[in-house]
């Protein structure tokens, strides 16, 4: 009974507690704006933590009328509503690309469109990336900071051991299947190809994989969104996974994997390949004791399209115009700033942080040029390992997530779970069931 009370408490969080800086008056004595921001790395990461604070100090020196109050952490869906209700939400907060659509739909973020004209660099942001932070009427609610696209992360050493060419990662799903078989044949717990099926990550990867075959998860059919994955491409994705899991035995026994599991397996040297973004590599190196030299990044197999993701910042719905302006000043000073690439890359290289991972730029035009030059100048990770990915990047269209992505991913998780844990799974039935549920979810999209 106590747990139920606890959950009733959790879902009954609508009572406000004393507000902190986020909802306070805009200005203090002397006309200063106090801006609460997050994204401050934890103190345990001493170098990046200090770097953030140094940037804050420099920004405050250049903008004496703004007082920044930096906080640790990022937007966490599990605490977001509670913080918002309690007036504890930062004025400017960090989000992943999966968050904005939902926050905009719920009107939990501020519209910053009318202020963007004062910050010219924002006009150089790639329209397809900025669209993540926009509603269907073109209103803008945040700015991107980083952009990733999915490729095939692989262990070059295992490729060598299995008699595969590390310079030529698989380009098609048939080649992936063949390579996975060869790696699994090494025995001793080696897994050829790993995939997710838990906590919405399964649906996320299914989306990437169907994009790679030219398919879609959802399409806008004359103003009405409809599920579009119950077709040949969707079937091919699931059937291939089922065959690799049960016919080839090249995907390992352990399934129901979620985000950290594949990184950990890659770090342990037991995993051959999985679909990932470049930013996985430093995590594998730092947290799971891998080495940069070990990992290569190839283009997404199939190459007809890939899923893009990334990070950015959004604004508290209760933020005043003065705070939104101050927030945009801060973001265009550091995160969404072409001028900072040089300084940040120099600092990162000096502090042994990776520079030169292959990520799609968020800018076009002169700003993109600045970023490219700065990346090339300070690159400290093996560029040749990512050459296949970089070479294919211009020819592979980056697609964004479907609307209500997390809900759709949760449904598609089930299909991924079934093909990876049930040798008798019926692919057609799984797709049909998922289609019905996803259409119900999409019915609420305006």
């Amino acid at each position: 009974m106590r747990t139920t009370l606890g959950l009733l408490l959790a879902v009954g969080l609508g009572f406000g507690t004393a507000a902190c800086g986020a909802g306070d008056d805009d200005t203090e004595e002397g006309g200063k704006v106090t801006l609460v921001i997050n994204g401050l790395p934890p103190a345990t990461e001493a170098a990046t933590h200090q770097r953030f604070l140094d940037n804050v100090a420099e920004f405050e020196r250049l903008n004496p009328d703004i007082d920044l109050d930096p906080r640790e952490g990022k937007m966490d869906p599990q605490t977001f509503a509670a913080k918002l209700a309690g007036g504890q939400l930062e004025d400017v907060f960090y989000v992943y690309f999966t968050d904005p659509a939902n926050l905009i739909a719920k009107r939990q973020v501020a519209d910053i469109s009318e202020y963007l004209g004062d910050f010219p660099v924002t006009s150089q942001i790639k329209p397809e990336v900025l669209r993540v932070f926009q509603d269907d009427k073109g209103g803008t609610f945040g700015l991107p900071y980083k952009n990733y696209s999915m490729g095939l992360l692989y262990n070059r050493e295992l490729f060598g051991k299995a008699g595969l060419d590390p310079e030529n990662p698989p380009r098609t799903w048939a080649e992936v299947r063949e390579a996975a078989k060869r790696i699994a044949a090494l025995g001793d717990g080696h897994v050829g190809y790993g995939d997710y099926s838990k906590s919405n990550t399964g649906g996320w990867h299914f989306t990437t994989e169907i994009y790679s075959l030219g398919g879609e998860v959802a399409v806008d059919d004359g103003g009405t969104w409809k599920a579009a994955f119950n077709g040949p491409q969707g079937k091919q994705v699931l059937q291939q996974l089922k065959d690799m899991r049960w016919t080839d035995n090249s995907m390992g026994e352990r399934q129901l994997l979620e985000w950290a599991d594949l990184l950990q397996m890659m770090g342990s040297g037991k995993l051959g390949m999985y679909v990932a973004t470049a930013d996985n590599i430093p995590t594998i190196v730092n947290q799971y004791k891998g080495r940069y030299e070990t990992y290569g990044l190839g283009p997404i197999p199939g190459g007809a399209g890939t899923l893009g993701g990334g990070e950015g910042y959004m604004f508290n719905a209760k933020a005043s115009p003065a705070k939104i302006r101050a927030g945009l000043k801060w973001l265009t000073f550091w995160f969404t700033s072409a001028e900072r690439f040089e300084a940040e890359n120099k600092w990162a290289a000096e502090n042994k942080n990776p520079v030169g991972l292959p990520e799609p730029a968020i800018f076009t035009g002169a700003a993109a040029q600045l970023q490219e030059t700065a990346d090339a100048k300070y690159a400290n990770v093996p560029q040749q390992n990512y050459a296949p990915f970089k070479a294919a990047m211009p020819s592979i269209p980056v697609k964004l997530e479907p609307p209500n992505a997390q809900q759709i991913y949760a449904v598609l998780d089930v299909a991924m779970q079934k093909v990876l844990t049930d040798r008798n799974a019926n692919v057609d039935q799984l797709l049909a069931d998922a289609e019905t549920q996803v259409n119900q979810i999409l019915a609420s999209v305006g």
Binding site: A10, V11, R107, K198, G252, A410, D413
Partner: protein
């Protein structure tokens, strides 16, 4: 939680005449006499009000609202409940929860009783076995789950390694639709049976020895002593534990959440679905509150049955 009655049933004794006082005066005296007691209770009552009763009421109210915590919440009538009953996961979650509860009772209810009788009959190492049985209860739930995740790993987990070594077929445990729910029951039973075992043990030790001696003199076998002495003496305790276990197992959360995730239809339970509605998939607190209310109603019925039965026993 007994409800005291002024007179036992069938009692006809008339109370002595007391001169009637004005109602307000009597109330004042009752309050005055107990002022200190109320003062002592005030802190506890305030905590209950703030952390239990208010959220409870707020949760029920929220189940009829939509709230984005920016603009004022607005009333949606029974829309959240309608959405709930239309969601196939609602029924899946309840079915899984009831199956889990059924399994959990078969194991979690009978195994502790059996263990307690066994411990009670032990002559040596009694203390050691008591600690051993109770030890899992002292482990934090997350530790239990991580431990069992290693046991269950179908690749190189402990269970499959042992089964393989002795030539028995291995299992996919939590990863197969046919064994997932049962695997979760095992974890839950292992983690929680210590408490029930100790309660049974205390109950067993409070049974007067004379009853057993009398039964032995009458030539009762071990089985007859169990059936005619032990079980009847423990009947009330067994009933209480049965209801408490139903209430606890219906609220299972950490095992499915940690071992099989929030999207697995084979193991999603009511509590996991509430969590999913509120925090991971829907971010819809109204829907989560509506689901919480359905769970609350079911548990309230069980609690009412429990109170009713315990009252009957005590009177």
């Amino acid at each position: 939680m007994a409800v005291l009655s002024a007179a036992a049933p069938g009692e006809t004794r008339t109370p002595p005449e007391v001169p009637k006082r004005p109602r307000s005066g009597r109330l004042r005296r009752v309050v005055g006499d107990n002022l200190l007691a109320y003062a002592f209770m005030a802190g506890g009552l305030a905590c209950f009000a703030l952390f239990s009763w208010y959220p409870l009421v707020r949760g029920i109210v929220l189940s009829f609202q939509q709230d984005n915590f920016v603009t004022d919440p607005y009333w949606v009538g029974t829309e959240n409940y309608a959405a709930l009953f239309e969601d196939p996961l609602f029924w899946t979650a309840w079915r899984n929860t009831l199956v889990f509860t059924g399994f959990a009772l078969v194991f979690g209810y009978l195994v502790p009783l059996f263990l307690a009788i066994l411990l009670n009959e032990l002559r040596h190492l009694k203390g050691f076995f008591r600690v051993a049985v109770y030890l899992p209860v002292m482990l934090p739930p997350i530790v239990v789950v991580l431990l069992w995740r290693y046991f269950y790993d179908p690749g190189n987990g402990l269970f499959n390694t042992v089964l393989d070594a002795v030539g028995l077929p291995t299992s996919q445990w939590t990863q197969s639709p046919s064994t997932a729910l049962f695997s979760l029951v095992l974890v839950s039973t292992w983690a929680n049976l210590g408490g029930a075992t100790l309660m049974y043990l205390a109950g067993l030790q409070s049974i007067p020895g004379e009853l057993y001696e009398a039964a032995e003199l009458d030539g009762a076998s071990v089985w007859q002593r169990l059936r005619h002495v032990t079980i009847p003496q423990l009947r009330f305790l067994m009933l209480v534990l049965l209801l408490l276990q139903v209430i606890a197992t219906v609220q299972v959360f950490i095992e499915p959440y940690q071992l099989t995730g929030t999207t697995n239809p084979d193991t999603i339970t009511v509590m996991v679905l509430i969590y999913r509605y509120a925090f991971t998939v829907n971010n819809d607190f109204g829907l989560a509150a509506a689901m919480s209310v359905t769970l609350f109603v079911v548990l309230a019925v069980f609690s009412a049955v429990y109170l009713r039965l315990t009252r009957g026993q005590e009177s």
